[in-house]
């Protein structure tokens, strides 16, 4: 989906009374169903109703039959009030496979989308797509997601269970049979700190501890302690010489989505979505990596179960290797 999603802001709900987000969502869903009445004279058929969980958007596609001939000239214009929360996104002439959405006009004064059938080309069948937005609150009311809080560990693989279901299809009333909720996202938070504790060589940690003490000695003005620690710091084995900044950058790279992605898998129908490290405001280094598992839900698939597997042993071996590569080579004896 491209930027054209936002081609009109006219379609937002306008109401005198403030509506809560869930009611607004339900209203949008109901309107989506009732849009059909505005199209009634063209034998509308709902082809699909899709809600994108990630983008928080919705899309409804209709097949319209607008035969040429005398009927067209006598028929009134199609008018769709913009209060529906939906906007005209595109329209295709299916006989000539050509886009014709420029024929739609927006009547600012009456807040309506208007189509004059007389302006349509010489074709009978059309495909109309309307788009709208949905709120997070509405999506939460519509679907529920749960993932295991703690994983099991077996043969070096951490397993998290995944479960997602439609909470209440009736929110969408008559159109639910055509409904598809796409890219429903379940976040699994994988703790990664512990792996660095065991893979970063003890001498690197010891050197950091000396650095900490040295900085404290400098700050406190204890000259003799400072000299002693400076000596200890300088004479530490070369193989441990990685600066705090280099170590920080290395950890950041090893918890990045790019590096992490090859170690996580999901069982179908789930697919891996975005992967990003989570950093708390008071901690500079990420403690957890958030992995998104995505699936679609719909009339034929109201509930989905699965697993997310994290190849922990392989990950630890890989970060161990990367850390080894980043340290200066040990001098040969």
């Amino acid at each position: 989906m491209g930027r054209t999603d936002d081609k009109s802001a006219c379609g937002e709900i306008k109401s005198d009374k403030p509506m809560n987000q869930v009611d607004a969502g339900i209203a949008i869903a109901r309107e989506a169903a009732s849009l059909i009445k505005y199209l009634q004279s063209f034998k509308p058929e709902v082809l699909s109703f899709r809600i994108d969980h990630i983008n928080k958007s919705s899309e409804i596609k209709y097949l319209l039959s607008i035969p040429t001939g005398i009927q067209r000239t006598t028929r009134r214009k199609i008018e769709i009030p913009a209060t529906s929360g939906f906007r005209v996104y595109e329209m295709w002439d299916l006989d000539q496979i050509k886009k014709v959405d420029s024929i739609w006009e927006f009547d600012q004064g009456n807040n309506k989308w208007v189509l004059d059938p007389k302006k349509l080309p010489n074709s009978d069948r059309y495909w109309l797509t309307m788009k709208g937005n949905v709120s997070k609150e509405f999506l939460d009311k519509l679907v529920t997601v749960k993932t295991a809080e703690n994983p099991t560990v077996e043969k070096g693989v951490e397993k998290y269970w995944l479960h997602s279901a439609i909470r209440d299809v009736r929110l969408l009333e008559t159109i639910w049979k055509d409904l598809n909720i796409e890219r429903v996202n379940l976040d699994v938070r994988i703790g990664v700190e512990r792996f660095f504790t065991s893979t970063i060589p003890k001498e690197v940690i010891k050197r950091l501890q000396i650095q900490r003490e040295l900085l404290e000695a400098i700050a406190s003005g204890d000259r003799s302690r400072e000299e002693r620690l400076k000596f200890a710091y300088r004479t530490f084995p070369r193989s441990s010489r990685i600066t705090p900044q280099e170590l920080y950058n290395l950890i950041q790279r090893l918890v990045s989505g790019e590096f992490f992605s090859s170690f996580v898998h999901v069982t179908p129908p789930f697919v891996i979505g975005s992967i990003e490290p989570i950093t708390q405001p008071t901690v500079l280094v990420p403690e957890k990596v958030k992995v998104g598992a995505q699936t679609d839900l719909g009339f034929n698939l109201p509930v989905v179960k699965g697993d997310l597997n994290f190849e922990r042993k392989q990950y630890v071996e890989s970060i161990s290797h990367e850390i080894g590569e980043s340290l200066p080579v040990k001098k040969k004896k």
Binding site: N150, E154, H163, R167, I251, L284
Partner: protein
Amino acid sequence: MSSLKVISEYVAPWALCREEIPIHLVWETDFEYDRIQIDFPSDIEIKELLNVERHETTDSGIVIKALKTPNFLGFYAQLRRMCEEQHQKRHIKIDFYSGGELKYTHTFVANIYRPKLSLLQAPEKIILSDKVDISKLINISMKLSGFGRVQVKPEISTGGEFVARADRLYYELARRIASTFRLEEGDLEAEKAIEIDAAWLQSMAESFIENMRAGKISLEIDKSDLEEFRAWISDPDNADNVMKLVHGQLENLLIQSLLFYLEKHPSDNVELGAGNPYTLIESATRKLRIRFRYKDALKTEYPPVEVEIPIEDKRTDRSKVLEVPINIRWEEQMTNPLAER
């Protein structure tokens, strides 16, 4: 009438004590029924019903009169109380009736686990003498069993109340910055012992300042001082000084942060959020009590483990206050829920 043909059945294969357990059943639409009964033990709570149009709660469970779509039932089950055993099973039965006759039964088994901390070994007595190496004086072995990761908070008492005594790095550092902000510019210059990339330091400092400005780092200093500090840090005229002050502390922060990160997990399933504990021993101290408070990933706190160790002070000069580290060895004997079932 055809019998129920299951399309999908599910109960989460394992759960922590207070975790919400998803359960569902999806079946072929050709099955006829007029009522569904869910039976479950009294210590189980059904948190949310999915796809249910009408239902009643009875003494033994829930009676479902109508579903929204005819062939899918889902719900979340949760244990009402604190777990005592490390593993317990709960049976949840779903009966389908038609005209008062039982047509189909499906039983789900929820496997519920908890982590359990216990004391393996502690010294019978602590003897202080002039020659003793205090870094090796107090050694304790703890065991974690069951299932689940824990966050452990050791609290120490040498007489009165228990206190959590350990480094609180960021707060300590932020507090240090907050308490020195009134210093003159010249005082802020510290000798650089470690090389750190300036541009990188700049970006780190900016995010740290941002978090302090937004109040995301709580500072345990006087309220009036804190307000003054916030005003000072937010005043655009002080921008240069703020940056200089944080810069001066940032390399320290980075090292502390890395060490904190690397020392936080003494074993796979144990997180010691505040670092290793230590105790202060004064002349009047006769016994040391350590209380290990712990909670699981859902923040459910379990009854703590307590250790009491008598102290015998044989030092010639007892007036000196000693800071004694408490060395803890962690042993894990975890359950694998997948292998157990």
